[in-house]
Symmetry: C2
Subunit: 241 residues, 2 copies
Amino acid sequence: MLITSLNNDKVKELVKLKDKKYRDINDLFFIEGKDLCDSAYENGLLRELYILDGYDNIYDGIPYTYVSTEVMKKISDLGSVSEYYGVCSKMVEKDLGNKILVLDDIQDPGNLGTIIRSAVAFNFDTIVLSRGTVDLYNPKVVRSAKGMLFKTNVIMRDIVSFIKEIDDYMVYGTDVKDGINIKNEIIPEKIAIVIGNEGKGISDEVRDLCQKFIYLDMNSECESLNAGVSASIIMYEVNSK
Amino acid sequence: MLITSLNNDKVKELVKLKDKKYRDINDLFFIEGKDLCDSAYENGLLRELYILDGYDNIYDGIPYTYVSTEVMKKISDLGSVSEYYGVCSKMVEKDLGNKILVLDDIQDPGNLGTIIRSAVAFNFDTIVLSRGTVDLYNPKVVRSAKGMLFKTNVIMRDIVSFIKEIDDYMVYGTDVKDGINIKNEIIPEKIAIVIGNEGKGISDEVRDLCQKFIYLDMNSECESLNAGVSASIIMYEVNSK
């Protein structure tokens, strides 16, 4: 089947997936491009495929529909034309690993995507998102995570209750100046590291639950790093120890 | 004076600064918000100030004009309302320092801003932008650099000729896997590190001029890091040695 009409009911349904509300109701999200479709397929999350007219279906066993260039533009987040557009099931939560990153209201979708990518690179196995964090399935988050979204365990929680529950983990807060230089800290096996919001940092309620604070050594001319960068360097340091 | 009309000639002129072409012709760029205006003022780059009606002028000796909320929205990059909007002279190039970061066609404005911020944090004194790098004075670059733009030395060059000229520096390329783990490298005093484009990496012509390649140890499940993150971790490592 080939869809060419922008008024097709299926097209209207796909466009709605740009809104968090519809993603939540249907437990679905969308991805664009062959690389992301490959990753979703390998991880068993690809549910439906929309293929640009003229390209082959390369994903066995997935229901597919051909679409025109105009339709592909319409359903794309940035109005771009990919060869493959996939509809995916949201990921299933897995058990907690030993290296947990807790995000306290990270707002920028690029930052969240970058952090997910770095978490896989540096062997952090679980990312916990506070209720106020940007939606994991926001198209910009999905894009900037570059397929690493499918290779990590991301869970959503009230992080105050979550931190209270994980009493066998050392919980670190991050602070620009106060605390211990991460280079000088012996990191235990089971840890959770909290990264604060881009503007406000870690909320007071969460801060009170952190057992220790760590910082990265830097020039005092610079007040703070980008949140994605500081989370990534901290994970890099932990992974290098 | 208070400007309230969106058709005012001055307003039209300011709106044009959103375009690179006009920034280049006039050697000017604009900044929004008190923090950035403070930084530009301290660094002697603030030329004109536009103040939201009702706020005080806090910058001695700078020509200023009051504007209405509507005008402030119109001249803002994101259509937001700041108390202070500044027009700045572009920065003057300074002499090369010992720690140089060379960017080979970085495209994402957020990445460039983040890299500038991290360069100040980790004592890289000079950033060299290839001709194909996103414009330094792009409003999103300026915003994401968080005032650190004024505290570093950024120069624009044909980077192939530039690397040929700096023959007393050790020139490192960055590669995901090939080369030396940066943890195991003794870094000399005078270095230049090349960071490649987000998609294509370092161009072949530049790659041929690199004396050594360094990489960051990471899980092979992850093909690469965000360019802003990898540049930042490399600078962090060099600064920690």
